[in-house]
Chain length 229, copies 8
């Protein structure tokens, strides 16, 4: 029986893996989808109590959960665009990730990625509204792309932005397809396929709308890269 | 019974619609896939005889058909890259279509489009190797794009080129996805979806590898546009 | 930093590309899906102020947005079928696009295409209820099809109408699949595939329900064709 | 144990259901795909011996099987286009099925349907090359369509022909999609979807290239209809 | 202009093809999905007025439309399971169609097929709850299957029922896949594929949940077969 | 480093997990696809040497591999239908699995399942040619189905056999879809979906053509069940 | 006519197969989806009355149905997580099935499987929260896995848990994909494909979220295995 | 005109982008698929001549191309497993990428990744045959995983390995699905979906069999990380 396993916290409705931080160097995170507001508050509190010196992150929160958290945990910081919450002090940023978004509809995913990166210990440079149908905007920020330690590129519809960005610089690039689009975009499949088939070498991809996963990955890369000359 | 219909030519194995030119203003075309070399030669000859003053086009020819046509019809012009043949004089070009291709692997489809455009009465400006991962090449030909009467943009893999080109100019643009790619490109589906979901307004699409269809359409547009001031 | 870029208008929640008109010759357009009514009004007003002499178009508006726009912008013209709005004077029509729809359920997409065409500077001839299962209606309008400068053909279900129309005339034809249908129509995929595989040469296709995209393209073609003899 | 079941014939490598004719009124049929030439000959002979007074049909035969059958069974009738063979006298035709094909590439499937219909006891009226992009050919045979007892309509690419034919007449109509096409036709899926979503009521569909299945069904309908006034 | 075409009735929001009956021998039908209750009432009334001596059918009616029709047209007959309505006297039945359903969830589709058959002039024999996992029920009705003039077999989930029924009898069989199921049934696709790939020869298929289409077809077959000895 | 791990045998081109038998109670198995004939012989010999007292199985062998094995390992037993080989004595059978196949084309998959079951320690009862379109054959073997300890049911096309068998008995049933079929059977996907959506409760499924996987599972079930009263 | 068939109970809106228990040894089960609360109560009562000595199971109940059952049948036992109800005494457990779930979101499916197993006569050992990204939890319960008579392994997202569990033990294993996930998980398709392609031999699969089907199967296996030494 | 663009080398049949190294810090690479052996040799030579001090890489070479390169360029190093070639000295390795492969069939993709990493300036630690069905092998190399600067994890079939590895360590992880598998693995789609839906956070994915893309990305990450304390 592992019910007394010190690596897990048993909250009755869930066993929380409080050991992952030790294994991976990452903070604890609560995936809010499918959880009641009270469950979100309970898990956030339990994790915060265990490690008050570092931030806990909760993502994919419903309107109701955001509201309950705001009232139950006044010290929490709410990010309405990202639909996410942090509790506890953010770490000092090591290295920088540029989070690049194609259109305004991609903002929630970009915001989730950006907040995840900060919680996981890296800094963020946000670059918005640089879709490929208006190249002059993208070319104007070429230097910011080249000096980042990692890139997270967020786009829906045809998902072409990572190919263009990937041709401009050799910085490691994580592409995030979003479910923005209609008709034969299939909830982000068109963008996902576009990114998987990018003609720019060295583009990697995460699941549709998965700003969190891209953020975890990019922060790990940026933290390691930070001390280079 | 329509067996004496003057609008069709009965070759035994096929009835050829020799009336389409009258209805649509386009030349006769032989779709070579699935036809024997002898059938291709027979149909080309029959159509050429009926209208020796204008070109007939045969597309999608096998190596064997190209070979048999070369020997049987010494007056035919062979295009090995397009895998196509013309018989009879090409018309005077009216208007210009720029045929833009992303990579060298897209050359056969671009060549089929270009030859089709010429046979259908418009002129061609070929622009090759301008993939989105190397923007400087594309930006260098911006003027040629803007002065064309219609654009045919050919790309495989993620199919991003039409979005970028469509953001640079307001010339009518027909996108052609190619089956170039591997893995999750699904024989051109990724490029097709990318083009259907283009963030640049006014992009239209034809079937995968359908250089012929794009060429017919673009020539019709260019011929009509030619006389503008 | 490009925050003072004269080519964009920064509204706080969005940077609007007011330079596209210069690049492409097209008017400004607001894609209303996912925007709040207040955002729609704000963008419409900002764009109209910048260029009061030409029309701005807003598409894909919710019931609520249509209502708010009506009250906030009394000078706006509301098209309830197209779920779209224009503000400012429509341009003089140059050339004519025939907008052909298969069934009454296709009316919203056809209306969006028609309004887009007018805003983009071409004239419109609407031809409705000419599905392929009742050929006599279609054959009765054959002349109107042949004298247009471009055709936009809208159909759901099996999407067969562009093939039949494309066999009747050589006018450039843009097909628009609609999401009308049920069962194995897959929200318009069956019609989309039918149009991509049309046996009539020279048919091009846009995304499902994309009346706007077809309209932009067709207006560009018609405007160029208008001055031919 | 059913090894002595009089309703089956055990040939060692297969047990043949010789009782189906009694249950369904149909002749015996050998599906040749995946069978060796010798197996085809053995089954044909066994079935013919059991009922020499009626025809046996073998379909989907390879070049090699067609060749071996020709030499081993000189009384067999070979249909090279349908890739099928009959042995024994064809029944008197009761009722008529019109087999309508869109293009020359659809001929093998139409031929398989036609031969199946004859073997299953109905007569056949073949109507070829009446694709929807050339309506005048189809309208010319309108009377032959209306006087048939059942229609089998064969088409590839977008599969639009059954919709048009179904709008011209109320005769029961079975549609057969063929794998003719390329790109996003997906080996006949586009045509299959087009037919399933036909806007003409009363269209039924069989599997891709399944001329045999359509033929069995249509013959059953025509045989029953034959004696109507 | 065809605005005075006697073959259509213009109701303002729709042109109704009142000539189809003459072309196909079938009654007029109103497809209710996407129409307002008032539109349904208006079309039913217009069609009924034109031909009070025969029945008009309206299908796919919403709760609200059923309610409005009941109050506005007291002479109409309402079928709550089929979600359909008839107005005017049903024709004398000629021939019989057996409508066979696998499970209770398939009842609405079977009811729509049955009512359609009656309106289109044939008689109906309903056979319910004969799924393949309980063969004894099906074997008990074998005689009723064999004496019908046509079969409509309705099933969801794996769609196996037509294969089993098709092996028991040679009566023409139309299979209707329903959207009953969950998980990897994909809203009826699993059943549709099962029916298209039926190992029983002579099975034809209509679109998912398309009881209406199957009914039109089956009635046409049964009416023709009725006078056989 | 685990290079001296006694649980693996390093053959240079592969490390073989010789410990799985201890973990799972199953024999060693060589998956022959993608291996050269010499590699197959080498692995078979190495495994046989280690445990000469029990059988080793090699599956999915090419013609060439079967030939090389026959000459190199004269003690091996070749199963040409299953394309598989055993080396070493088969275990005493404990419990019985009935392997049921719908058609003769399903024989190779059924044979692979049957041989796998024997090698994994259970007995086999083969029941062939009992497709659902000829129910009398299946009903004749009902007793053999009911007395087995586990059932493996193999079928292609619509994959309906497991539903029918599963309705006749409560014996645990593993369904194996085969790639037998054409057109919209998608290489076995139609059968796979049919089996996953079976209306008979308690049907489990393995991958397409995976006779081996079904055999391993069924033998495990039968061995455990054997000693029941 | 089978209306007096003692093997079915006619409730007006449904005929219930009360004979299945005799054929398969399993209890009666009511599939609640799509049934009204009153229908659920009526069927439960009818089945319970017929066999008060054994449990009846109702699954997939809506909130409303759960509520109505609670009030109408006070003797029923409600399982809110499984959304299921039992009426009548549970049988003595014979053999044990370990129900293994990857994450807390998989709990409803695991609960449905567990309750089904108990109703079908076997015992249950629940093992929760043992996802593959935290192997230590899974390794800690290795003994419980090895001593079970059958395993039901429930997982969403990538569905990797059955492969890992299947490598640890040779106990028969049924995998249940859940619809837990987002983006390209396609409502459980990713997990389903992962399980069908498991590299661990002897893994069988049921439909997405089909805890009931897995439970029926596993209980049958465990009951048979129970008496082994 | 860019024909004299110093950033491209014109070889007649292709313009090579020799400027990408300057933009991205990466070496030149020749994608061999679809190129003739002579073209491969010509491009390799041209690139090597331009920069003899650094390595050029050619991937996806046919047997014939490998053979011609071996004879034409005796200084080239051939990697038969990776089907790739290098010409010129490899750079000093900075940082280390662990390349982890599930099975022997994944070796070609792992070898392509490993060689790409070396050519792009990082070191490689190869870890093979550590599939999830034999966890002890994977757990034995846990330290090597944790000390790498980046991980490339290669797996086919269900693609579960990245989830398990990602749970053991926080090192940045790029997953490569391979086309190894059969049946419903769809040429690598099952593995691709499994990886996109990984329950381990921070897993990114490249296209199927794209060892090259993963290698480019991982080398970029490792080079940057190398100088960390």
């Amino acid at each position: 029986m592992d019910q007394d396993d010190p690596r897990t916290a048993d909250l009755g409705f869930a066993r929380v893996d409080v050991d992952r931080a030790a294994r991976t160097g990452d903070p604890e995170v609560v995936y809010g989808a499918g959880k009641t507001p009270d469950q979100v508050v309970a898990i956030l509190s339990a994790l915060h109590e265990k490690h008050p010196e570092r931030a806990v992150l909760a993502t994919r929160l419903s309107d109701e959960s955001l509201d309950v958290v705001r009232r139950a945990l006044p010290d929490a910081t709410i990010d309405l665009v990202a639909r996410a919450v942090t509790l506890g002090p953010l770490p000092e940023p090591r290295g920088t990730v540029a989070v690049v978004a194609a259109g305004t509809s991609d903002a929630p995913v970009a915001a989730e990625a950006a907040l995840t990166i900060r919680v996981h210990g890296a800094g963020v440079d946000r670059i918005d509204d640089v879709g490929v149908a208006g190249l002059h905007r993208l070319l104007a920020v070429r230097d910011r792309l080249a000096t980042a330690d990692c890139l997270v590129v967020v786009a829906g519809m045809e998902g072409a932005l990572p190919s263009v960005v990937g041709g401009l610089t050799g910085v490691p690039l994580v592409a995030v397809p979003t479910s923005v689009g209609y008709g034969a975009s299939f909830g982000g499949i068109a963008a996902l396929l576009g990114m998987l088939n990018s003609c720019a070498p060295g583009v990697t991809v995460v699941n549709i709308d998965n700003g969190y996963g891209a953020g975890v990955f990019a922060a790990r890369v940026a933290r390691r890269a930070e001390v280079r000359p």
